[in-house]
C-alpha cells in the first residue's frame, strides 16, 4: 500500500494533523490500534478548555465526534484495530491487523502516538481492582461498567479530580484521596473544593503502605503522617502521571533530548514539529505531555509542515499559518510547559550531542 502521509495514532493530535493534510488534497492513512478513532477523547465526559479558537468549548467525546466527522469529507484511509510493529529496510512501515503484517510506503510519517499512564508502586499494587485513573474512566464512560463500589484515588492532579467526580456521578463511593505532597496538585482548585464539600477526606503527605486481598483488592493500609489507617475498598485508581509513547520513534531512529517539562525523554524536533529524520514529524503528547488545546495545535503545525514539503501548500502560506498557530500555542499552553518546549526547540538547532541515547 502506498500513501502520501501515514499518521500513527488517531487521537486528537492525529486527527487534527489528518484534517490539515487531507484537506489539501493529500492521500492520508491513519493507523490506530483501537476500534474507533478519537483516542482517549472517547471516554472524556468533562468539558475541555481552552481549545483553539477554531473550536467552541465542548466535552471530550463531542470533540472526538467532531474531528471524525471533519475527516469524512476527505481522502483518509482508516486502518483501525491495526498496529505498527516495525519498519522494513526500505523505510516502509510494517502494519499488522493482528494476523498478517503488510508494508505501507509513505512519503511522510507523522507520529501522534500519545501518552501512557504511569503506575504508582506499593506492595501488592498489581492486585486486580487496582488500576490507572484512565482505566477507571474508560470503564465507566466507554464500556458502561462499574469498576467497583468503594474506591480510593491516589493522586490529586486535575485528571484525578475530574475522574473522582465522574466515578461519584455513576454511584461509586470515593472513600479518600491520597496525595503524597502536602497539598492538592490540581490547577482547577474548584474541583478540589467540590470534592471536599461532598465530604471526601484528602490525606496529604500520605501514601498506600500495602494492599491486600484474595484474588482482588479488598483492603489497603494508608500511611498518614502520624498514623496508619485501614480502608476496605474494591477499587484503587492511581494517577502516576503520563509519559510519551515513543516505541515507534526509537524504531525510526530519531534523535532524542531530555526535557523535564515535557515529560522526560522525547524526540528532538524543530518549529515545524519535524524530527531529525526529515520525513518524520511528530504531534501531540508524543512531542511532550500537554493539554487538549495544545495537542490539537501541535497536530495542526505538523500537518501544515508535512503538506508544505509535499507541495500541497506554498512555503509562504505555510509559514504564515505556522506563525499564527505558534502564537496560539503560547497562549493556550501552560507557561512552564511552553518554555520547556521552546528550550527543546533550541536543542534541535544547537545539538550538544547528536545521539543522546547510548544504544
Amino acid at each position: 500500500m502506498k500513501t502520501d502521509v501515514l499518521i500513527i495514532g488517531g487521537g486528537p493530535a492525529g486527527l487534527s494533523t489528518a484534517i490539515e493534510t487531507a484537506s489539501r488534497g493529500l492521500d492520508v492513512t491513519i493507523v490506530d490500534e483501537a476500534s474507533k478513532l478519537g483516542g482517549q477523547l472517547n471516554q472524556q465526559t468533562q468539558a475541555l478548555r481552552p481549545l483553539p479558537s477554531l473550536y467552541e468549548s465542548m466535552r471530550g467525546f463531542e470533540l472526538a465526534n467532531k474531528l471524525i466527522e471533519q475527516i469524512k469529507d476527505y481522502n483518509v484511509r482508516q486502518l483501525l484495530n491495526h498496529r505498527v510493529v516495525g519498519f522494513y529496510a526500505d523505510g516502509s512501515a510494517g502494519i499488522t491487523d493482528e494476523e498478517n503484517v503488510f508494508p505501507v510506503n509513505a512519503k511522510k510519517i507523522i507520529v501522534a502516538s500519545g501518552a501512557a499512564e504511569k503506575a504508582v508502586a506499593f506492595p501488592k499494587w498489581t492486585l486486580p481492582g487496582i488500576m490507572t485513573i484512565g482505566a477507571a474512566q474508560t470503564l465507566i464512560n466507554r464500556d458502561f461498567v462499574m469498576p467497583g463500589r468503594e474506591a480510593v484515588i491516589v493522586g490529586s492532579s486535575d485528571f484525578a479530580m475530574e475522574t473522582a467526580i465522574q466515578l461519584m456521578d455513576v454511584g461509586i463511593r470515593v472513600k479518600a484521596i491520597i496525595e503524597k505532597q502536602s497539598g492538592a496538585l490540581a490547577k482547577e482548585q474548584e474541583k478540589v473544593r467540590e470534592l471536599s464539600r461532598s465530604g471526601i477526606p484528602f490525606y496529604f503527605n500520605s501514601f498506600i503502605k500495602e494492599a491486600r486481598g484474595n484474588g482482588q483488592v479488598e483492603q489497603i493500609d494508608v500511611a498518614l503522617p502520624d498514623d496508619v489507617i485501614t480502608l476496605n475498598v474494591d477499587l484503587v485508581c492511581m494517577d502516576g502521571g503520563r509519559a510519551p509513547i515513543l516505541d515507534v520513534l526509537y524504531q525510526l531512529g530519531c534523535s532524542f533530548g531530555f526535557q523535564e517539562e515535557l515529560g522526560g525523554w522525547i524526540p528532538q524536533y524543530n518549529n515545524r514539529f519535524q524530527t531529525d529524520r526529515e520525513d518524520v514529524f511528530i504531534a501531540g503528547n508524543a512531542a511532550g505531555i500537554s493539554t487538549h488545546g495544545p495537542l490539537l495545535l501541535t497536530g495542526m503545525i505538523a500537518g501544515i509542515s508535512a503538506s508544505e514539503e509535499l507541495q500541497a501548500i506554498s512555503a509562504l502560506e505555510a509559514h504564515e499559518i505556522r506563525e499564527a498557530l505558534w502564537k496560539e500555542l503560547e497562549l493556550l499552553e501552560d507557561k512552564e510547559m511552553h518554555s520547556g518546549r521552546v528550550k527543546h526547540l533550541e536543542k534541535f538547532a544547537n545539538p550538544v550531542l547528536k545521539d543522546q541515547f547510548i544504544y
Binding site: A116, P128, T132, A135, T138, N141, V145
Partner: protein, 107 residues
Amino acid sequence: MHIEKHPVLGRQLHKPVTIYFNDQPYQAYTQQSVAAALMANGIKKLGVTRKLVQSRGLFCSRGRCCSCYMTIEGEDHVRSCMTEVEDGMRIYPNMDDPEVRRDIDED
C-alpha cells in the same frame, strides 16, 4: 455491574450478547471490551503471573500494560481490554505459559 443509565451519556447498552468465561454464560453488550464485560459480571481476576502466580486484572485498559492477557476464541495471550465482545465468545483465563506455535519440528 453494567451502567444501564449513564448520568451524562444516557442509555447506551442496547445489544446484549452472551459470552462464556470458563464455559459459564454471562451477559455483555456489544462494543464492550472483554475485560470490561467480565468486570461487569464481578470477574476481576483474568489470570495469574507466570513466575510468582499472582492474580492479574485489568490495569491500563489501553493495551499498553498487557496485564489482562486471556485466551479468547482459542488464541492465547490476547489483550482482553482491546478485544470487543462477540456473541458466543469463549474466554478462558491465562493461568500458565502459552502454547508457543512452532514451525520447526523439534524431533
